[in-house]
């Protein structure tokens, strides 16, 4: 692991390392700490004691947020939309990746190219015509209007990652299944997918995070505030309670918390997915 490690200047290097690391940590953590601590202050404290610890600690903003229906409703909306998106994109992509990886058929390369080019479409490009198509299909103001396009835009990356994983599964496994008389469906569902659990977890985490953080599509599709996801809710909340900065900070912090917890929990999968996605694709 250690690359080239001469003994000279080890102490110096250590010190340099920690200085750089702590500076970066300060850079990263300050805004988040500001939100976390700011939520415990009141507005007067925010103004007069912007940098220090809250004094006294004021939990009202957080308890207000936690006891507000709006916050929970939006968190649930975000979660449901993210789960549904993930399920659809992973299921559809696994099926496509399966035949791409393991069978040869005419048009395969063209189709794969088609999906792979999808990797390079910025989502913002499509949002306006997508809106009009969703309007024609009657999917505006409907969670499906967010779920289906998100799943569709998630396909390319998911397919690319899963395909290379499926390709790495040895042929003997399939052969044995076929000898046992398993159909491709059976092989896919009962053998391949269970074997691919790490890869499935990785792409699921990517899809979940992508959906959880999406803003532009819900912004144009969901007009009814009962359907809003957290990113929309935070923006609206900050307008609604503009004069109450501490309250907004608490709401912002609470909206960031699920993503932070999830990251702590699925960090490995997320990072695997991102590195796989960008080296494979």
């Amino acid at each position: 692991m250690p690359a080239v490690n001469t003994k000279r200047g080890n102490l110096l290097r250590n010190t340099g390392f920690y200085i750089a690391a702590f500076l970066t940590t300060a850079f990263v953590a300050t805004p988040i700490l500001f939100a976390l601590l700011g939520g415990f202050k009141d507005n007067q404290q925010l103004r007069e004691n912007a940098l220090g610890l809250p004094n006294p600690w004021n939990t009202e903003n957080y308890t207000d947020t936690l006891s507000s229906d709006v916050f929970w409703q939006q968190a649930v909306n975000s979660a449901l939309i993210a789960l549904a998106t993930t399920f659809i994109v992973v299921a559809a992509a696994a099926m496509v990746a399966f035949v791409f990886a393991r069978y040869a058929f005419r048009g395969r390369e063209v189709l794969f190219m088609l999906f792979a080019t999808g990797l390079m479409f910025p989502f913002a490009v499509a949002v306006l015509p997508l809106f009009i198509i969703l309007r024609t299909m009657g999917l505006l103001d409907n969670p499906l209007g967010v779920i289906l396009p998100q799943a569709a835009f998630g396909l390319p990356l998911t397919i690319v990652i899963l395909r290379s994983f499926f390709r790495a599964i040895p042929g003997e496994v399939e052969e044995a299944a076929i000898i046992d008389g398993a159909s491709p469906w059976r092989f896919f569902l009962t053998i391949l997918l269970p074997m691919a659990r790490p890869a499935l977890a990785t792409v699921s985490v990517l899809a979940l995070v992508g959906s959880w953080n999406n803003y532009l599509l819900p912004l144009v599709v969901l007009n009814d505030s009962n359907l809003w996801t957290l990113p929309l809710g935070v923006d609206q909340f900050s307008g609604q309670y503009a004069s109450d900065t501490a309250k907004v900070l608490a709401f912002v912090m609470m909206a960031m918390l699920p993503a932070l917890l999830f990251y702590g929990f699925a960090e490995r999968h997320l990072i695997n997915g991102l590195t796989a996605g960008s080296t494979k694709g």
Binding site: V28, A104, V125, P156, V234, T245, L249
Partner: protein, 320 residues
């Protein structure tokens, strides 16, 4: 259809028994393909069509065909040209500052030090947060009279009255700073992964040959991380082209377009001013720009992977 893979010279038994027919393959492809055609390809084709009309999007399909007028107007639109310029600045900034910073930190974190996992975990945190939520947070941090940024500066003795979001010459720098905050961890992780893929033996051999640290960096690290570097460059360009959430929430593109992006202009024209035709033309322009980059990307980066797809994919089931 359903032609069996014959590249690897597989046993013929498998071909006849296990290989699925065209119908099965189509069934596997169908859900993904339908989704993709309906929600990814169709919108882009539709935008290309609508871009030739003057259309406010209300009441019935477009009828007022105006040829290339939307596109020629776009090329004279100072806001759009400004968007391009600003995207260029952001890209330049990330190539010169953001990516090298991430690269440097990755090299640093590649060394074995106590606590390096914790730092790696920490640096990646901003990437996990939603851009829109980040935008709201930084709007409060940089707000004019009670901003946290001002207090922070004051604490270190700088009483500068900076118009973080209100000064047209400053706002883009602030946006860039926030983007760096949000994304350097992501690029750092990619670089770390790329660096970890380089076998230590190469460095050991070079050290035996008496190569200096600098030589090893130039001769081994940089070339072998080429693919990762090219990918991050590409990702940061695509990211800049489609930048929306963060800036929209932070500044709305203002003051007077000073932080506006193509996607914001498109949103304003399309959804706020009901100029759907013009906004579609803008979408197509964005598409064209990303497509040119995508071709570049394919040529230099994806190429190898696609070749693998052409040659390796079918034989994989049978290679032994």
């Amino acid at each position: 259809m359903g032609r069996p893979a014959d590249r690897g010279g597989k046993p013929s038994r498998r071909r006849s028994a296990g290989r699925p027919g065209a119908g099965t393959i189509a069934a596997f492809l169908a859900p993904g393909l339908v989704l993709f055609l309906l929600f990814v390809l169709a919108p882009i084709l539709f935008a290309a069509y609508v871009g030739f009309f003057r259309w406010n999007g209300l009441g019935g399909p477009p009828t007022d065909f105006i040829g290339f007028e939307n596109f020629t107007n776009l090329l004279q639109d100072k806001v759009f040209l400004g968007d391009l310029w600003r995207v260029g600045l952001l890209i330049a900034g990330s190539l010169v500052i953001q990516l090298p910073l991430a690269f440097g930190l990755a090299m640093l974190l590649h060394q074995r030090f106590p606590g390096r996992t914790v730092f790696r975990l920490l640096f990646f945190v901003p990437y996990v947060l939603a851009e829109a939520v980040t935008g709201v947070l930084f709007r409060l941090i940089f707000s004019e009279r009670r901003g946290f940024a001002d207090s922070l500066l004051a604490a270190v003795g700088i009483e500068a009255n900076v118009g973080w979001l209100s000064d047209r010459t400053v706002v883009l720098i602030v946006v860039f700073g926030i983007l760096t905050w949000k994304f350097f961890g992501f690029y750092m992780i990619l670089y770390l992964a790329g660096r970890q893929n380089i076998p230590d033996e190469l460095y050991e051999a070079a050290a035996i040959d008496g190569a200096s640290d600098g030589q090893m960096f130039r001769r081994i690290t940089l070339p072998l991380m080429g693919p990762t570097l090219r990918i991050t460059v590409f990702l940061s360009i695509i990211g800049a082209v489609q930048l929306f959430d963060l800036v929209f929430v932070l500044t709305g593109g203002g003051p007077f377009h000073a932080s506006e992006t193509m996607a914001i202009t498109m949103y304003e024209q399309g959804f706020q001013r009901n100029q759907i035709g013009y906004a579609s033309a803008l979408s197509i322009a964005m598409f064209a720009i990303s497509f040119v980059f995508a071709l570049f990307y394919q040529r230099f980066v994806l190429k190898r992977d696609l070749q693998g797809g052409l040659t390796g994919g079918g034989s994989n089931g049978g290679d032994r």
